[in-house]
Symmetry: C2
Subunit: 427 residues, 2 copies
């Protein structure tokens, strides 16, 4: 049992709790939230008691769209538009990946997630055994999704992976049906994914409406936007998650709301690839669940949820010419509760008894967080990775005071990542 005490508890399902609120963690779950009686305290044996010293305890940040193993392509091909970047730089390098390389490169991403208070990633990639191995070794939570492309032959693999990665034996790992994007799939393939959604009554994840060109070409092919196409083929019948959603029509937004599809906002990647700025304020008005993601390290290039939070609100204020747009509360909700919902992690959203202990301690005793006029504003407008004091996944402290508690030597992880990209360049 681990006891967090003497801090501010941001449960994300109610007001900020006063400083005498404690949170106790038993194995992987939150077992107590509140002010304990003297009797409760005296009758409980704690393995560890963590004095928060007035710091903030809150649910871990959820990175709801990423391609973790792409760490090797960080700063490899910057300053290019999406289509060129993908076809000329990214796809050829990705063709050289192996299971072992994905395992090694995923380690680097997990280390970075932990430094930014991120406790779960929603990951679309391949060589999944290597990826899962790294997550399980670290104790890091991941929801993978399918990324079928091409023709119908890849459906079988999707169904296999759906079964396989939802029964790995690790409670940290789950898998959602998914396709890469409209522009990399045949209509038949998309329809096939829709059939699987029906068969399993399962949500589906995919890239959608990331660029103007993607939407225009889809309309050219089918006289429908990607969102309309997916909906027409049954892909959204049991909800899902649409990554990016930069270029949506009003009708698209209505579909997302009606079908319970989360919009995963990736502001840094969308800016850097010059894809545009998603209309978050409008989506909020439609009541769409919004989550926040970094996208992969090749297009961001950091895996830093604090940067995404700032961008989410600042961009909406800027483009809507409304300084009140996109409140910090709504941003923090997207980065925690909204992400958990998009990832179908209903037990990782808030701090409450019975929920998974995926938690973060944010250090307020740093100059950027003082004075404390408003904690949520401080987190969204001022916090950065230097404020991450502790990151806990499923009840286990994986990062604390700048040190990692993972079974890897960090210098070796860095060296291996450099070796891999050097080798790949010469292959």
């Amino acid at each position: 049992m681990i006891r967090f005490y003497n801090g501010k508890v941001l449960t994300m399902d109610s007001e900020i709790r006063p400083q005498d609120t404690e949170v106790w963690v038993d194995a992987d779950k939150i077992s107590f939230v509140g002010k304990p009686t003297a009797e409760q305290l005296s009758q409980t044996t704690f393995d560890r008691q963590i004095d928060l010293h007035g710091d903030v305890l809150m649910p871990g940040l959820k990175n709801a769209h990423t391609h973790s193993p792409m760490t090797f392509l960080r700063s490899f091909a910057d300053d290019m538009p999406l289509q060129d970047w993908l076809t000329k730089q990214i796809f050829p390098m990705e063709a050289k990946l192996t299971e072992q390389r994905v395992y090694e490169l995923t380690k680097l991403a997990i280390l970075e997630y932990l430094t930014s208070g991120c406790t779960a990633a929603f990951d679309m990639y391949f060589f999944r055994d290597g990826y899962v191995k790294a997550c399980v070794e670290a104790g890091f939570r991941s929801v993978m999704c399918g990324a079928v492309t091409g023709d119908e032959s890849s459906l079988e693999k999707l169904e296999e992976d759906f079964a396989k990665y939802n029964s790995t034996g690790s409670p940290l790992i789950s898998f959602m049906l998914g396709l890469h994007a409209e522009y990399t799939c045949s209509k038949e393939l998309i329809g096939g994914v829709g059939q699987l959604a029906k068969k399993y009554k399962a949500p589906v994840a995919m890239h959608s409406s990331e660029t103007e060109r993607e939407v225009a070409e889809c309309i050219g092919r089918y006289d429908m936007t990607p969102t309309q196409l997916f909906d027409s083929l049954g892909v959204y019948d049991f909800g899902g998650a649409a990554f990016h959603c930069v270029h949506l029509t009003d009708e698209d937004m209505q579909i997302l709301k009606m079908r319970n599809v989360s919009a995963v906002h990736c502001p840094a990647s969308n800016l850097k690839l010059a894809s545009g700025i998603a209309e978050i304020v409008k989506m909020q008005k439609y009541g769409i669940n919004i989550a926040l993601g970094t996208d992969g390290p090749a297009s961001n290039n950091a895996l830093d949820m604090f940067r995404e939070m700032y961008l989410m609100t600042a961009l909406q204020k800027g483009v809507n010419k409304d300084a009140a747009a996109c409140s910090p509360q709504s941003v923090l909700k997207a980065a925690t509760v909204g992400g958990a919902r998009a990832m179908q992690l209903s037990d990782c959203d808030v701090i409450a008894v019975g929920k998974q202990a995926d938690l973060v301690v944010l250090d307020l005793n740093k100059p950027n967080m003082q004075p404390v006029n408003n904690i949520v504003s401080n987190i969204v407008y001022s916090a950065d990775k230097t404020n991450v004091r502790l990151t806990m996944c499923a009840g286990k402290v994986l990062y604390e005071d700048g040190k990692f508690n993972v079974p890897w030597d960090t210098d070796e992880v860095y060296a291996t990542a450099n070796e891999i990209i050097t080798e790949m360049k010469s292959e």
Copy 2:
């Protein structure tokens, strides 16, 4: 003498130097840059030898527009447009400031600058003795500028301050002529500042063209943009620095270039107050010197130059729909050399013999900086404050490995800032 060795030296006036390049610091200046001979090494006595372990040594970041003492208003009044925010929230609280409060609140800002690798601030504020006291105690470099407002009576004070703060006895402190903004000055006052510029052959700093409303009202009053008005009144005769420059015409840009006026870009503050996004790409084409600033903590709310660097390039890519816009090289230049130029700190711009030793060490041995495909891209697209290993001003290490080397107790600084805002709310 301090020796930096075994690192990558980003001098900012040439290519990245190979790892056997060393930088030596004698008192407040850089005394050697290059590969020393065995003889040079054996004949030199070092007070300290800093093994960079492959990390990056580069010129300190220059925060070219800020209002440091406004730390007390962080998260105090968010989500409001500029004019309301200023007149209803900021000005009434500022009226309660004192010399002593400014001294205390400046300390908090300096601590934050040091954590973000910032070695100098271009500061517009009042109660300057309190401000200077904090900077000199810390050993932090500052260029202040005048902020005259109202009528001509404030000109005398500006001239006094110009003399006084350019002869404090501390080489860390200097003062530039300046006015607050067109919208807070009479035309006669602006003309008076122009006269002082002529008298002292001195550059002038001011807020300019931050909002559409400011520009429209100025045109309504004078049939000129703020830039045209300043130019017509001689304010720009000896160059200067214009803060914000969000809404410039082509003619305005020609004036800035011709008059050698630096444009100080504050992307976070401009977004958060919904003022807009400056046309940096266009300004770069005109050859205007561009610097980068955070603006004050009431409108940003962090004082984090890494966030500004990312915003500068990402926003230009986004609004210009061009992923190649605003190269990371141009961003890093704005944050270092461009800032030094805007602040008239000609000896703090690059790493070269005889320059001031205002230096930063960036830690590459963190997950967000690996692999090292491109150092400049890594810094601009991926770095954050966790990468700041050491910050040195004028040859003195002020921050290293998360510890401050300043004559203040940081907990006291935080507590005092909270006491001040609490007192002010009740006054």
